[in-house]
Amino acid sequence: MARMESRVDVTVENREAARADDGKRHPNTCPRCHSHFRDDELEQTLRVCSQCGHHFSVRARERIAQLADRGTFVEEDKGLRSADPLGFFDLRAYTDRLAEAEVATGLGDAVIAGAAAIERRPCELAVMDFAFMGGSMGSTVGEKFARACERAAGRQVPLVCVTASGGARMQEGILSLMQLPKTVCAVDELHEARCAFISVMTHPTTAGVLASFASLGDVIVSEPGALLAFTGPRVVQQTTREKLPDDFGLAESNARFGHVDAIVPRAELRPFVGRLLAMFVQAQ
């Protein structure tokens, strides 16, 4: 159809194909400049490549350690676990995948939430972990986020949410889709209680999570180079055969089109969120 084609911004060839060896790369090797780091080096740089500035992904617990004031985080809903409402079985049983993810990550599900303080400002903090089944949102993730909203409203503190998710968890079928309106409703409650919601989108924040609570932050912050897209580049290319711009769906492109408020490098994230929290405390 002429209408859509005329609006496509086709400038640079997509370089996705050049990264065919992604699967074999060592997790501590920078995908952009191929520098290699020891674990302790990466930990010290907050998992940012000291050569080129590439932001490696951060696990939820490490993120909390980076963001929250030491010793302030008190986890809630630790015991919440996913059920298998559909008896879902693809090549393997959903229950097996869950058990395996829990062993591999040490997490109950793809989000950790609880009370915390950032730069001495009290808040409710929810952090997603991409390592747990791609950070996918099923009933448990939706429920934990909704409860975090309720606690924030109850305590009259802002909510800070760090997202990293591939979208809804297919294994829970329609119930995972229902987590979109469910989390949206939770944000509406937060609004009604006049509590601030700061959404920090990290790589990747896509599909169901982007299309629900992550996009509803009073302020939306992103890390450099994060993929923030409803549909990822591979699927867009396959279904539409459009040539994708080089920075398709990246935080920088999202900022250019007006979908995020600020791109903040990881080293500055904590003071930045701290400054925001201070703004909202004053408003109350």
Partner: protein
């Protein structure tokens, strides 16, 4: 050789399911009486657990080429309909129609996805796949309904939001989120019916209503069967298996508490008689609007939030 009679196997399966359902902390957050009635309805349905073939039949009927689309229903259900166009900022998305309608001697605002019948119209309507502009138009319609106190009705029939470059650049995900929020915040009664494909975020964007219905042969799902099969089975050809696994049919959706009722279709499917299908749909919408009734807008919002807040099954 011992043979287990089929009915006994059925009974065993049923018992297993019952045990499983009782084990799960179902539908928390709902008042006890509401929980009991929902549970009972769910248990009533268990006797008729759809088979893999039945689920797939629903998938095929939901996408049937002759299945009535939003405007087919509007034409038959509404005495008058004035379509509104455009998102007032950029463009008009033909994949979503919106307008003021006379329905059962009152004015309502109606929004629905629209697919096309022939190849020209199909491309014009972009196969019912919405751009952000479409959701902005829907939000305009919501504002209109809210301002004038008109009940808000949506008909859902989309394979999903359009996965294109410009759609992304215009903020597809963000507008789906904001469209849901706008619908949650409506102070007027709202009813949604899934009339064909309820495809993922593109569908749920306009489906956050006080009552959510589904036609007998409609499907409502987080991903298309083909997409699910391609990701989990690594083979889009396994769509039938995928559909049976993630259960997008109306009966399962009712059982899981996702929808409030199933709208019957003429025997053989809605495509066999558009008139009959429209009459049945009009009855169901009328019934749901009456059921929702008139309440204080703040109460309505709270009730609606409670409805969606309670969705999901997990272990606590």
């Amino acid at each position: 050789m011992t043979e287990t009679p089929a009915s006994q196997v059925e009974q065993l399966k049923l018992k297993e399911r019952l045990a499983k359902l009782r084990d799960l902390p179902l539908l928390r957050g709902v008042g006890v009486s509401g929980e009991m009635s929902r549970l009972k309805r769910q248990l009533d349905r268990i006797g008729s657990e759809p088979t893999e073939d039945e689920v797939w039949q629903a998938v095929e009927l939901a996408r049937h080429q002759e299945r009535p689309y939003t405007l087919d229903y509007v034409e038959r259900m509404c005495e008058d309909f004035v379509e509104i166009h455009g998102d007032r900022s950029f463009s008009d998305d033909p994949a979503i129609v919106a307008g003021l309608a006379r329905f059962g001697r009152r004015t309502i605002v109606l929004v629905g996805h629209q697919k096309g019948r022939d190849i020209r119209e199909r491309t014009h309507r972009n196969f019912g796949m919405t751009y952000p502009e479409g959701y902005r138009k829907a939000m305009r319609a919501m504002e209109l309904a809210d301002r004038h106190g008109f009940p808000f009705v949506t008909l859902v029939d989309t394979p999903g939001a359009y996965p294109g470059v410009t759609a992304e650049q215009h903020g597809q995900g963000g507008w789906i989120a904001r469209c849901q929020l706008a619908m949650v915040r409506l102070g007027v009664p709202s009813v949604t019916c899934v009339i064909g494909e309820g495809g993922s975020g593109g569908a749920v964007a306009i489906a956050v209503a006080d009552r959510v219905l589904m036609q007998e042969n409609a499907i409502y799902s987080v991903i298309s069967p083909e997409g699910c099969a391609a990701i989990l089975w690594r083979d889009a050809g396994e769509a039938k298996k995928a559909a049976a696994a993630f259960k997008p049919d109306a009966r399962h959706c009712l059982e899981l508490g996702v929808i409030d009722g199933i709208v019957p279709e003429p025997a053989g499917g809605a495509h066999t008689s558009h008139d009959e299908a429209a009459a049945l749909l009009a009855d169901a919408l009328e019934g749901s609007l009456a059921e929702v009734g008139v309440t204080d807008p703040d109460d309505r919002r709270r009730q609606r939030r409670r409805r969606f807040r309670s969705l999901g099954i997990y272990l606590d």
